[in-house]
C-alpha cells in the first residue's frame, strides 16, 4: 500500500509538471485564498500580542473593570457602531471608582473616560480631539513617560492637562515650549503641564491612542461635558498573589452598590489581553470569512482543472484499468493530484501571506506573527480543500468504464 501511495505521488508529480502553466494557475487560486487568511490571522495575532506585551509591561498586579457584561451580544456591537459616543450607556460611574478606592489591598484606581471635543489654542483650533479623563493615579498604574513637564497631580488637576506628542505638535507646532501654555475647551481654560513622549502604540488595552490624545482629570471632563461615561477602570493591587480574591471582592462591592446588577466585568492577568472591543473580533472574523470565500473559489479552480485532466486522460484511465488498476487505484491517483495542487498552493499562499504581512509591518506597528497553529491550520485547510474539491473528479475518473475509455482518443 505504501508502495502504491509513493507511486501515486510520483504520478501526480509528473502530471503536474507536464501541465506546468495550468498547475501554476490552479495553485495560484489556492495561494491567494490562503495568503489572505494568513495575512488576517497574522495581523490578528500580532494585535493580541501587542496588547499582551503591554499588559505584561504594566505588571502582574493590574485589575480592569469594564462596563456591560453582555459585551458579546451582537446588538451591543451594533450599538457601539451606530452611537456617536462609544460607551454612552456605561454602567460604571464615579461612585464606583470611589467605592473601589476605599477597599483594602488597592494601591491605585484610575477610571478611563473618553470623549472628543474641539480644542482651541492661541494658534490653531482642532475639532474632534480624543480626550482621556482619568485621575492622577493613572500615572501610578501605567507610568507614561513625559517628554516635558509632569503628569497632573491632585494639586493642579482642576486645570492641568497633559498633551500627546502629536497633538502638541498640531496645536502649537512645537513640543518643547508647550508646557505652561493655555488651551480652551468648551470655554474652559486649561494649562498644559506636560507633554508625553512619543509612544507609537495605537493599540493597547485602554483603547486610546496616546500620541493624539489629551489627558485631563475626569472631574474636569465631567464638568465640560456635563456627564462622563467611564469605559474602563484600571486598578493596581497591593500584592499580586491575591488578585483573584481582590477581583472577587471588587465584584461583590460593585454588585452591592448597583443593587445586584452585574452589568460589568472584572478582568485580570491574561483576560485583560482580550481585545477591548468585540467589534475587533467580529470585523476580523468577517474578514477571515471573506478570505475563506476566495479559498473556495480556489478550490473550484482545482476541481475544474481536475475535471479537465480526467477528461483528457480518459484513454490513459482505460489502459490503466485494462492492465489491472482498480477503481480505487484510479481514484487515489487523481485525488493525490488534487491534494498536491492544493497543498502546494497552500504553501505558496503561506509564503505570500507572510511576505504581505511583513510589508505591512514596515508601515504599521503590526509585526508578522507566526505560530505553529497557523501553519497546521493552513496545511489542514488546504488538505481539506484538496479532498473536498478533488473527490468528485477522482470519483468520476474511477467510475469510468474501461472498455469505453479505451475507445476514447485525444
Amino acid at each position: 500500500m505504501a508502495l502504491l501511495l509513493k507511486t501515486h505521488f510520483k504520478l501526480a508529480k509528473t502530471s503536474i509538471k507536464e501541465n506546468r502553466t495550468r498547475s501554476f494557475l490552479t495553485c495560484l487560486g489556492i495561494a491567494i485564498g490562503v495568503a489572505s487568511i494568513i495575512l488576517i490571522l497574522s495581523l490578528m495575532g500580532s494585535i493580541s500580542n501587542l496588547i499582551k506585551n503591554e499588559a505584561a509591561e504594566i505588571g502582574p498586579d493590574l485589575i480592569v473593570v469594564r462596563p456591560s457584561s453582555s459585551k458579546d451580544s451582537l446588538t451591543n456591537v451594533i450599538n457601539e457602531l451606530t452611537s456617536s459616543n462609544t460607551y454612552e450607556q456605561s454602567s460604571l460611574s464615579l461612585k464606583d471608582v470611589s467605592a473601589i478606592s476605599a477597599m483594602d489591598d488597592i494601591a491605585a484606581v484610575a477610571p478611563i473616560a473618553t470623549s472628543t471635543n474641539t480644542i482651541n489654542s492661541e494658534k490653531n483650533n482642532f475639532p474632534s480631539v480624543p480626550i482621556l479623563g482619568t485621575t492622577p493615579d493613572f500615572n501610578k498604574i501605567e507610568p507614561l513617560t513625559l517628554r516635558y513637564g509632569t503628569f497632573f497631580t491632585d494639586n493642579n488637576k482642576e486645570n492641568g492637562v497633559v498633551l500627546g506628542h502629536t497633538l502638541s505638535l498640531a496645536l502649537f507646532n512645537t513640543i518643547n515650549s508647550t508646557v505652561g501654555k493655555t488651551i480652551t475647551i468648551m470655554g474652559e481654560k486649561f494649562m498644559v503641564v506636560g507633554v508625553l513622549e512619543e509612544v507609537d502604540k495605537s493599540i493597547n488595552f485602554d483603547d486610546i491612542d496616546f500620541d493624539n490624545a489629551l489627558v485631563m482629570d475626569i472631574n474636569s471632563l465631567d464638568k465640560i461635558n456635563g456627564s462622563t461615561q467611564i469605559q474602563q477602570i484600571n486598578i493596581k493591587a497591593t500584592n499580586t498573589e491575591s488578585l483573584a480574591t481582590i477581583s472577587d471582592n471588587i465584584k461583590t462591592e460593585l454588585k452591592n452598590s448597583k443593587s445586584g446588577d452585574e452589568n460589568f466585568t472584572v478582568a485580570y492577568g491574561d483576560e485583560i489581553t482580550h481585545p477591548a472591543s468585540s467589534l475587533f473580533v467580529i470585523v476580523s472574523g468577517m474578514l477571515a470569512l471573506v478570505a475563506a470565500i476566495s479559498l473556495i473559489v480556489g478550490g473550484i479552480g482545482v476541481m475544474n482543472i481536475m475535471l479537465v485532466s480526467v477528461a483528457e486522460r480518459t484513454h490513459e484511465i482505460g489502459i490503466r484499468k485494462a492492465v489491472g488498476a482498480s477503481s480505487r487505484n484510479i481514484l487515489m491517483q487523481f485525488l493525490f493530484e488534487a491534494l498536491i495542487l492544493s497543498v502546494l498552493g497552500g504553501f505558496f499562499g503561506l509564503v505570500l501571506g507572510y511576505i504581505l504581512a511583513f510589508l505591512i509591518s514596515i508601515i504599521t506597528p503590526f509585526a508578522p506573527y507566526i505560530s505553529w497553529e497557523i501553519l497546521a491550520l493552513t496545511f489542514l485547510t488546504t488538505l481539506a480543500v484538496g479532498i473536498v474539491f478533488g473527490i468528485y473528479p477522482a470519483l468520476k475518473a474511477a467510475s469510468k468504464d474501461p472498455i469505453e475509455s479505451l475507445k476514447h482518443y485525444r
Partner: protein, 272 residues
C-alpha cells in the same frame, strides 16, 4: 489430459445489450473450454461478439448471464476490485491500437501492470527492461511511444502483456494496424511466447494468420459456428515456470539502467 489443465470454462455465457425492442445479444448461451497452452484464434464477421467475448474473458466486462470459471474459480460475480486484481495478475492484453500511455517512456509503459501488483520501482524497471530486451527494444527504453514505429509499439505492448507473467494473453486484432512485415514479426513473437507454454486467445480478421493457431474458432451471431483444433491436446506446449523475484533486487545492480528520461518537448508529439 488432466482436469487441472483447463484454464477457462465458459458455460451458457450470455451478453445482452438493451431491453425490449432494442434488445440484442452479443453472446448467446456461449460455451467454451480452453486448456492451458492453447493458441486460439477467434474469427468471424464484425459484430459477431468476438471483442465482447475477449473483454469478458479479460474481466473488463461482465456477462449478463452464465458461468465463467477461471482457474477453477467462478469469477462471473466477483467484485470489481477482485476483477482488477485478477486482471493485473493473470491477464495480459494486447490491442489493435497498442494503447500505450503517450506521456510515459516505453519502459514505464511496460512496467505498468506491475505497479498494481505491488512491485518496487526497481523490480518493475528491471523486469520491464528484460522484457524489452527480449523484443530488441533495449536501446529505446526511454523513448516515448510516438517515437517508435507501429510494429515497435506493438512489441512494446506485447512486452507489457507478458511482463507480469500472466496465465492468459488476450490479443484483439494485434496486427490490424500493421503492415505485413510488422505483422509477421509480431506474430512470430506471439508464437514464441506461446511455445513457452502461454495461453493466447487472439481475435483476428486475417485468415492467413490461422497457421499460427492451435485452434481456430469461427463465430456467428454470438455463438460458435465452427471450432477446429489443428494441434492435439497432448502436443500443446507445457508451461515453463518463470518466477519473478519480488522486491529482492539489489538497487546498485540495475541503478545504471534507470537513467532519468531526457526531457522531450510535448508539442512535437501529436503526429496522428
Amino acid at each position: 489430459m488432466s482436469e487441472s489443465n483447463i484454464i477457462i470454462e465458459l458455460k451458457g455465457l450470455t451478453k445482452r445489450y438493451g431491453y425490449g425492442d432494442t434488445e440484442s445479444f452479443a453472446l448467446k448461451d456461449f460455451d467454451l473450454t480452453i486448456k492451458r497452452g492453447e493458441f486460439i484464434m477467434i474469427m468471424g464477421p464484425s459484430g459477431c461478439g468476438k471483442t465482447t467475448l475477449l473483454n469478458i474473458i479479460g474481466l473488463l466486462d461482465r456477462a449478463s448471464r452464465g458461468e465463467y470459471i477461471l482457474n477453477g474459480e467462478d469469477v462471473a460475480g466477483i467484485s470489481a476490485r477482485r476483477q482488477a486484481k485478477l486482471r493485473a495478475k493473470k491477464i495480459g492484453f494486447i490491442f489493435q491500437n497498442f494503447n500505450l500511455i503517450e506521456d510515459l517512456p516505453i519502459i514505464e509503459n511496460v512496467a505498468l501492470p506491475m505497479v498494481y501488483t505491488g512491485y518496487s520501482k526497481t523490480a518493475r524497471l528491471k523486469n520491464a527492461s528484460s522484457a524489452l530486451k527480449r523484443f530488441n527494444l533495449q536501446e529505446r527504453e526511454y523513448y516515448l511511444p510516438y517515437q517508435l514505429s507501429g510494429g515497435q509499439q506493438q512489441r512494446v505492448a506485447i512486452a507489457r502483456a507478458i511482463v507480469g507473467n500472466p496465465e492468459i494473453i488476450l490479443a484483439d486484432e494485434p496486427t490490424g494496424n500493421l503492415d505485413s512485415r510488422s505483422s509477421h514479426t509480431v506474430m512470430e513473437e506471439l508464437k514464441a511466447i506461446h511455445e513457452e507454454g502461454n495461453t493466447i486467445i487472439m481475435v483476428t480478421h486475417n485468415p492467413a494468420l490461422t497457421t499460427y493457431a492451435t485452434r481456430v474458432i469461427n463465430m456467428l451471431d454470438g455463438q460458435i459456428d465452427t471450432d477446429v483444433k489443428t494441434v492435439s491436446d497432448q502436443n500443446l506446449p507445457q508451461p515453463i515456470d518463470v518466477k519473478i523475484k519480488k522486491r529482492k533486487i539489489k538497487p546498485e545492480v540495475i541503478l545504471g539502467k534507470i537513467e532519468p528520461a531526457k526531457k522531450r518537448k510535448r508539442k512535437s508529439r501529436r503526429k496522428k
